[in-house]
C-alpha cells in the first residue's frame, strides 16, 4: 500500500525546523514504526527516532501523530492510508527535542527517580525463612500501574506540566502508586507525605489527556486519584487540594449541594481568602457568590448524610480501594470489545496480523 507521511524534522544545533513529506510503499500490516523504518532505509537515512522492541513493551517509540502522543509500533497505518490521510509526525511534547523525533528524556527520568521507584523494605519477615506470600487481590490493586512501560505518552500531553514544568507528572505518579499500593513496601506514609508536596498529586488539573493517550490503558489520572484517596485516608490532608476535595464531601453530606461561597476559605484558609476580597466582590456583584445563608439544601438530604455514615463513618475510609473496585467494570470499556466482531473477522481484516497457526488447522 502507498503511505504518505509528513515528518517534522528538527536540528537542535541550528534550531532549523522543516516539515518533510514522504510517499512510501509499505506492506498492508505496516505500523507507523515500520513506515519510519522504510523511510530511513530507502528514502532518508538521516531521520532520527527511537525504537527497540517493536511490540509495545519497551516504550521507546513514543511520538506524536497529528498532535496526539502514540507508540509508533502500536499504530496500524492501513485505515489511515485507505482514507488518503497524510498524518503529521512530530516529537513528543513537554520534553526538549534533541533531533527530529527524538526527545531528551532527562527531565522525565529525573521525575521518575524523584518518587523512589523501588521497593523500600520494612514489612515483617516471615519466620523460618519461609516465602513471603501475597494474595492476588492485594496485587490486583496495582495491576494497572505495574503495566507502565515509561514511554512518556502521558507526560507529552499533560496540561498541568505544560503550564508548570516542575509538576511531578502522570508517569512518575503512576509509578508512585505502584509502590504505595504494594503491600511489601515499608514506606507508604513517607511516600504519601512527599507526594503531597507543592508539585505533587494536587497539581493535577484533571484534563484526562493521560488517560486518553496511555497506550497501555493504565489511566494515570485514576492512579493520581488513588493517591489522593489514600492520603486522605491516612490523614495527610494539609494541602489545599485535599482541603478542596474534602469540602465537597462536607457539602454533600450537609446540604447536598456544593457550598460554593465557603469553598475558598475552606481551601485556602481565612487569611488568604480575605486577600481575595476585591476579586470576590467583583464576582459578588454579578451574583457569582451565593450567600451561604439560608443554605441551598437538597430535598431528602438526610439520605445523602446516611450514605456518608454507611460508606465512611461506620465502615472506615477505603482509600484507593474505593477506586480500584470500579476498575473491573471500566476495564471492559478500555478494551473496546463490542462483542460483535469474531476473532476470525478480525484476522480477515486487511492490515491485520496473519492468523496464527493452530494445531486444529492441520485437520
Amino acid at each position: 500500500m502507498q503511505v504518505g507521511l509528513k515528518i517534522w524534522r528538527f536540528n537542535s544545533r541550528s534550531g532549523e525546523r522543516e516539515l518533510q513529506e514522504f510517499e512510501i510503499d509499505a506492506p498492508e500490516e505496516a505500523t507507523l514504526l515500520d513506515c519510519l523504518d522504510i523511510v530511513k532505509d530507502r528514502h532518508d537515512g538521516s531521520l532520527a527516532y527511537r525504537k527497540s522492541c517493536r511490540m509495545m513493551i519497551c516504550g521507546s517509540c513514543g511520538m506524536r501523530m497529528d498532535g496526539a502522543a502514540v507508540l509508533a509500533c502500536k499504530v496500524r497505518m492501513y485505515d489511515i492510508a485507505q482514507e488518503g490521510r497524510v498524518p503529521v509526525i512530530s516529537a513528543m511534547g513537554n520534553l526538549p527535542i534533541v533531533k527530529d523525533l527524538v526527545v531528551d528524556m532527562g527531565p522525565f527520568w529525573e521525575k521518575f527517580r524523584s518518587v523512589d521507584p523501588f521497593l523500600q523494605p520494612g514489612y515483617q519477615e516471615p519466620p523460618d525463612g519461609r516465602e513471603h506470600l501475597i494474595r492476588q487481590e492485594r496485587m490486583n490493586v496495582i495491576h494497572k500501574e505495574a503495566l507502565c512501560i515509561n514511554c512518556g505518552c502521558c507526560v507529552s500531553e499533560c496540561n498541568a506540566m505544560e503550564s508548570d514544568p516542575q509538576f511531578t507528572g502522570p508517569q512518575a505518579l503512576v509509578k508512585a502508586m505502584r509502590f504505595v499500593g504494594d503491600p511489601r513496601d515499608g514506606e507508604k506514609l513517607a511516600r504519601l507525605e512527599k507526594l503531597n508536596g507543592e508539585h505533587g498529586i494536587w497539581e493535577c488539573t484533571r484534563c484526562y489527556f493521560c488517560n486518553e493517550r496511555c497506550p497501555k490503558n493504565i489511566d494515570p489520572r485514576d492512579a493520581i486519584a488513588k493517591l489522593g484517596a489514600e492520603s486522605i485516608k491516612e490523614g495527610i490532608d494539609r494541602d489545599m487540594g485535599a482541603k478542596h476535595a474534602k469540602w465537597f464531601v462536607t457539602s454533600a453530606k450537609t446540604t447536598g449541594w456544593l457550598r460554593e461561597t465557603e469553598l475558598v476559605p475552606k481551601t485556602q484558609g481565612v487569611v488568604a481568602a480575605i486577600k481575595q476580597t476585591r476579586f470576590a466582590l467583583d464576582l459578588a456583584v454579578k451574583g457569582k457568590v451565593p450567600p451561604p445563608f439560608p443554605p441551598h439544601v437538597a430535598k431528602d438530604v438526610r439520605e445523602a448524610r446516611r450514605l456518608y455514615d454507611l460508606t465512611v463513618r461506620e465502615s472506615g475510609r477505603r482509600g484507593y480501594d474505593g477506586i480500584v473496585q470500579g476498575e473491573h467494570a471500566l476495564g471492559r470499556l478500555a478494551h473496546g470489545h463490542s462483542g460483535e466482531e469474531t476473532l476470525e473477522e478480525i484476522y480477515d481484516r486487511p492490515g491485520s496480523f496473519t492468523r496464527p497457526y493452530l494445531p486444529d488447522d492441520a485437520a
Binding site: F209, V249, F279, K288, L330, L333
Partner: protein, 294 residues
C-alpha cells in the same frame, strides 16, 4: 417532545443560574421536556471521587436511581464534570453486579430505590448536535447569530476519557462547530479548544491554572473571535470570572465575552435577553449584544 430527567448540578443551581434559566427557556424549542430532579445532590465534581471514592459511587448511584424512577431513558446534564462523574459511576454500577448489589443494599437501607435500569447520561450538547435535536435546533434558530465569530471551547471532561464519554473523536470534535454554524455564527478554529481551562486547581494551584487558562482566551482573541462558547459551567466560571486575574498576571486585558452553550443557542432561537441573564457575567457581554442587536 423527548422527556428527560434534568440534572442541573451545583453551579447552574446557584452561581451560574443563568445557565439554568437559558436551558429551561431553550429546552422546549429543541424538543426536550425537562423533568427536574428534586432529591438529588452534587455529583462530587471529581473531588469526592478523589476524597471518598466509595461515597462518590453511592451519591451518583442515588442520582441515577432518582432519574430512573422518573421512567425516562435519559439523564440530561449541562456540565462536563457532572457528565463524566455520572457516566463513570453508571458504567461501574452496570458493569459489575457485585458492586451494584452492595451499593443498592446501602441505597435501599436509607430509603432510596435500588438502581437497576441503565440510564443514559447525556450532555445537552450531544442532544442538539445530531438527530432530531439537531433538526429542531436548525428550525428553531431562526433569529441567527448575524455571523458572530464564535470560538468553541469544549473543555476536558466532555471529551476525555473517550471510553467513558465516547460521543465524538476527542481530538477532532465537531459538535460545537456544527451547532455554531447551524445557529448562523462563524466557528473559529484554534488549538487550545480541547485543552484544560485550569478550573479544578484554580484555588489550590492558581499559577498553574492561569497558565492553562490564558491559552484558549489568547488564541481565540488572536483568531478574531467575538466570544467563546462552552458547554461547561466550570469552564465558564474560570474563563469569565478569572479573566481579570490574567490581566493582573500578564497585563493583557482580553475582555473576551464567554457564553454558555444554552445561551448561544438561546440567542439564535429568539429567547429574550431577560431569560439569558447576560448581566450575570463578569466580562461584559455588551459587544456581543450590540453585534447581535438584541
Amino acid at each position: 417532545m423527548k422527556k428527560v430527567a434534568y440534572y442541573k448540578g451545583c453551579l447552574a443551581s446557584l452561581s451560574a443560574k443563568e445557565l439554568d434559566y437559558a436551558t429551561q427557556a431553550l429546552a422546549p424549542k429543541v424538543g426536550l421536556e425537562l423533568v427536574e430532579l428534586e432529591s438529588v445532590t452534587c455529583c462530587g465534581a471529581g473531588d469526592i471521587h478523589e476524597a471518598e471514592p466509595d461515597y462518590y459511587l453511592h451519591l451518583n448511584a442515588r442520582i441515577l436511581s432518582y432519574a430512573a424512577a422518573e421512567g425516562v431513558d435519559t439523564l440530561l446534564t449541562v456540565c462536563n464534570v457532572c457528565t463524566l462523574n455520572l457516566r463513570q459511576a453508571n458504567f461501574v454500577l452496570m458493569g459489575d453486579s457485585e458492586v451494584r448489589a452492595r451499593v443498592n443494599e446501602n441505597l435501599v437501607s436509607v430509603g432510596v430505590p435500588a438502581y437497576e435500569r441503565d440510564i443514559d447520561v447525556r450532555h445537552l450538547l450531544w442532544e442538539i448536535a445530531e438527530g432530531e435535536g439537531y433538526e429542531l435546533l436548525k428550525s428553531a434558530a431562526h433569529r441567527g447569530l448575524k455571523g458572530l465569530k464564535v470560538a468553541p471551547f469544549y473543555g476536558c471532561q466532555i471529551l476525555r476519557p473517550s471510553k467513558i464519554n465516547g460521543f465524538e473523536d476527542p481530538d477532532r470534535p465537531w459538535s460545537l462547530e456544527r451547532i455554531i454554524e447551524a445557529c448562523g455564527g462563524e466557528a473559529i478554529d484554534y488549538p487550545a479548544k480541547i485543552k484544560c481551562c485550569g478550573f479544578p486547581i484554580i484555588q489550590a494551584r492558581e499559577e498553574t491554572a492561569l497558565g492553562e487558562l490564558i491559552q484558549p482566551i489568547e488564541q481565540a482573541y488572536e483568531a478574531g473571535a467575538d466570544a467563546i462558547v462552552t458547554p461547561c459551567p466550570l469552564c465558564h466560571l474560570s474563563l469569565d470570572a478569572w479573566q481579570s486575574k490574567l490581566k493582573a498576571a500578564t497585563g493583557r486585558d482580553f475582555k473576551m465575552p464567554i457564553l454558555h452553550l444554552s445561551q448561544l443557542v438561546g440567542v439564535a432561537a429568539g429567547v429574550p435577553e431577560a431569560e439569558l441573564k447576560f448581566k450575570r457575567h463578569v466580562v461584559s457581554m455588551k459587544p456581543v449584544i450590540e453585534k447581535l442587536q438584541i
